[in-house]
């Protein structure tokens, strides 16, 4: 399949329609100078990725991204920014000189290049048919409580540990002595 053939399919136009704004919004998240704006761009980026999951037929994952990330995490971000009164704009302390940014940027680009090359090399432009049964929400729910019950229960311990530890670290008390 060539790029020309690829463009004749309407689903691929829908993909581009979703992917390009998602990509632009993702870049804006990290380049935006204002934290609140970055969070709002994140909403677009996450919404776009949720729509991509829906396009793939992964309705459970798609709606989870909407509910958990856009619904809860973003709101948490905004509330967090509000109640901590964090500075909204550029912080001098956290800015790195260009000498530190350049290698990081180079590494990122290289990493992207390698991963992109490998993915294109392995999958190319071939069409991979969607397995029918793999994507239904009901079956995912069933499998969570049958074959994946151990990881499911362990996740609840991860969350409990994060909750308890987070409370301890965030609590305000007099500084302890240094032993």
């Amino acid at each position: 399949m060539t790029i020309g053939d690829w463009l004749t399919e309407s689903a691929n136009w829908a993909f581009l329609f979703l992917a390009i704004p998602t990509f632009v919004a993702s870049v804006m998240v990290v380049s935006s100078r204002n934290v609140v704006r970055a969070v709002l761009y994140l909403v677009i980026a996450l919404g776009g990725s949720a729509a991509l999951f829906l396009m793939l037929g992964a309705e459970f994952v798609g709606w989870t991204v909407v509910l958990v990330y856009i619904g809860a995490v973003i709101i948490l971000f905004l509330i967090g920014i509000m109640i901590t009164r964090a500075p909204l704009t550029k912080s001098v302390d956290l800015s790195h000189p260009i000498s530190a940014k350049a290698p990081a940027a180079l590494l990122s680009v290289l990493l992207f290049g390698v991963v992109a090359w490998a993915v294109v090399e392995s999958f190319g432009l071939e069409t991979i048919p969607l397995p029918e049964e793999a994507t239904r929400t009901g079956e995912i729910g069933l499998s969570i409580f049958t074959s994946w019950v151990i990881p499911f229960e362990v996740v609840s311990f991860v969350l409990l540990a994060a909750l308890i530890g987070g409370i301890v670290l965030a609590r305000k008390d007099e500084p302890a002595e240094v032993p």
């Binding site: 991963v115 392995s122 999958f123 994946w148 996740v155 301890v168 670290l169 500084p175 302890a176």
Partner: protein, 501 residues
């Protein structure tokens, strides 16, 4: 129908974790939370023993390996041995923490809770035979680690340790997940048994190799092998010292469990890819760890670099055997032998460092001079654990080294011999700084700033005495009767035959 006997250790440990939290809530004296935790750990050992000895017990049916959930959770010999290592490590870390936390105002009950939760993660990891369960188990080991590293909230070094550990740990995890997603994408499975049977056409795809590389990198962070080791000494130094003890043993063992299981069970057919990578990581870790350790003046940082070097020794037989395409089972047994002995002696070394540190209020080696004058007992323990780490007979460390050398030489080939030579040179380098600590403690004059009379009057707290006693006895017993641990390791390596590889 779920085989409840097989997952009984996990169930008991999980209930213990919750019981500790409730005890902390209802009691004034937080000591009881630790007592409940230790009782739970003893209870966890019982089903581990019955699982291992099931054949000899009346009324017990079913032998190892016990396969649950379609092969994604397997209780085999290897899993049982490593679960016992995690339970033992957290038991000692708990004993060390009790004495340490009571010496100052810390949150106690929550500390024990997090420590035990991390152990639960390790126990789950030991049985995980698919990526999803393994990674979630790894999360449960890492998450509490990040939080515990920052437990000394008033100390900036502790804050820095927690943040550094968190960012590096999360980066490692992101790499690991990236790798797993690539492997899953190309193979369509994340079950180790099915991955091991991947057809050659798929193995040759670049995405498969790239995914494997990311998975390896992710675990390299966890075991603090070079080149992803830089966080280790800073975190051990900044975190409360018992947390350092847990991270250097429990968290590191978790990383090794992940790495060995994944390499051995999921990717045996591409050992020519990951073998040389592990071989190189082993050589670099030994060399960098040891040469930097020589320059350290702080004992905790010294142990940090020493643990990097020891990670290299643990990896050496496995990496060499895989690189040379030799029989993996012996190398696997040697790596597990080293891991088990390292766990015991490093916990002991950290224990004695904490015992001395709570008296002196400093971890600078210079202040340790002449420890023998004010506490002969502690000085002797310093000698025992540090010389064991160096590999001097009759302390347990010598057998770990012996197993490592004989396995690498048995590999033969340029891979095996070269790493044996590097390891031998490194053993000599390591001897320099381990004996420097011992020499300082025994023969150097006491500095003027140290009040010998005051130090002589101080006792070691009873839980600390117990922890030091257990590890010291084990270091001696395992050194004199090394058959005990090599039997365990051979037993654990039966996983190969069990998995039909």
């Amino acid at each position: 129908m779920i085989d409840y006997h097989a997952i009984l250790p996990e169930i008991i440990l999980a209930l213990t974790v919750l019981a500790v939290l409730v005890t902390d809530l209802v009691t004034k004296d937080k000591y009881y939370a630790a007592v409940v935790g230790m009782a739970g750990l003893f209870a966890t050992m019982i089903p581990l023993l019955t699982l291992a000895l099931c054949d000899d017990l009346a009324g017990c049916s079913g032998e190892l390996p016990r396969v649950l959930f379609g092969g994604s959770y397997v209780v085999d010999q290897y899993a049982v041995v490593l679960k016992a290592v995690f339970v033992f490590a957290v038991f000692i870390a708990l004993l060390l923490a009790v004495a340490y936390l009571e010496s100052d105002r810390y949150y106690e009950g929550e500390f024990y809770f997090l420590l035990l939760a991390a152990a639960l993660g390790g126990v789950v990891m030991s049985s995980s035979r698919d990526f999803l369960t393994l990674i979630i188990g790894l999360e449960l080991v890492s998450g509490p680690g990040f939080l515990l590293a920052g437990w000394r909230k008033g100390d900036e070094r502790s804050n820095e340790a927690a943040l550094k550990f968190f960012i590096i740990g999360v980066t490692g995890l992101a790499l690991l997940l990236m790798g797993v997603s690539l492997v899953y994408g190309i193979t369509g499975t994340q079950l180790f048994a099915e991955l091991a049977a991947t057809p050659q056409a798929i193995v040759d795809e670049p995405v498969f190799a790239l995914g494997l590389l990311f998975v390896l990198l992710g675990f390299t962070f966890k075991i603090s092998a070079v080149p992803f080791h830089v966080w280790t000494p800073d975190v051990y130094e900044g975190a409360p010292t018992p947390v350092g003890a847990w991270l250097s043993v429990g968290s590191k063992t978790a990383g090794f469990v992940g790495l060995l299981t994944v390499c051995y069970l999921a990717f045996p057919q591409v050992s020519n890819l990951w073998g040389p990578a592990l071989w190189l990581a082993a050589i670099l870790s030994m060399t960098v760890g040891n040469f930097v350790a020589i320059q350290q003046t702080n004992v905790v940082r010294l142990l940090g670099y020493s643990s990097i070097a020891q990670a290299g020794f643990i990896l050496a037989p496995f990496g060499a055997a895989a690189a040379a395409g030799a029989d993996l089972q012996q190398a696997f047994a040697a790596s597990v032998t080293y891991l088990v002995i390292y766990a015991v002696m490093n916990l002991g070394a950290f224990g004695v460092v904490i015992a001395v540190g709570t008296r002196l209020k400093t971890y600078e080696l210079a202040d340790w001079s002449g420890m023998y004058r004010w506490s002969a007992g502690l000085a002797i323990l310093v000698g025992a654990f540090f010389l064991s780490l160096a590999g001097i007979p009759p302390l347990a460390g010598w057998f770990a080294k012996l197993a490592m050398f004989s396995a690498t030489i048995a590999v033969g080939d340029i891979w095996g011999y070269s790493i044996a030579v590097v390891a031998a040179l490194n053993t000599v380098v390591a001897l320099v700084y381990y004996t420097k600590v011992v020499k300082t403690a025994f023969f150097d004059p006491v500095p003027d700033t140290i009040d010998v009379a005051a130090l002589e009057g101080m006792d070691v707290a009873p839980p600390m005495q117990l922890a030091l006693g257990i590890t010291a006895v084990l270091v001696l017993v395992l050194g004199v009767f090394p058959g005990l641990v090599s039997t365990l390791a051979q037993y654990s390596s039966e996983v190969v035959t069990a998995a039909g590889l």
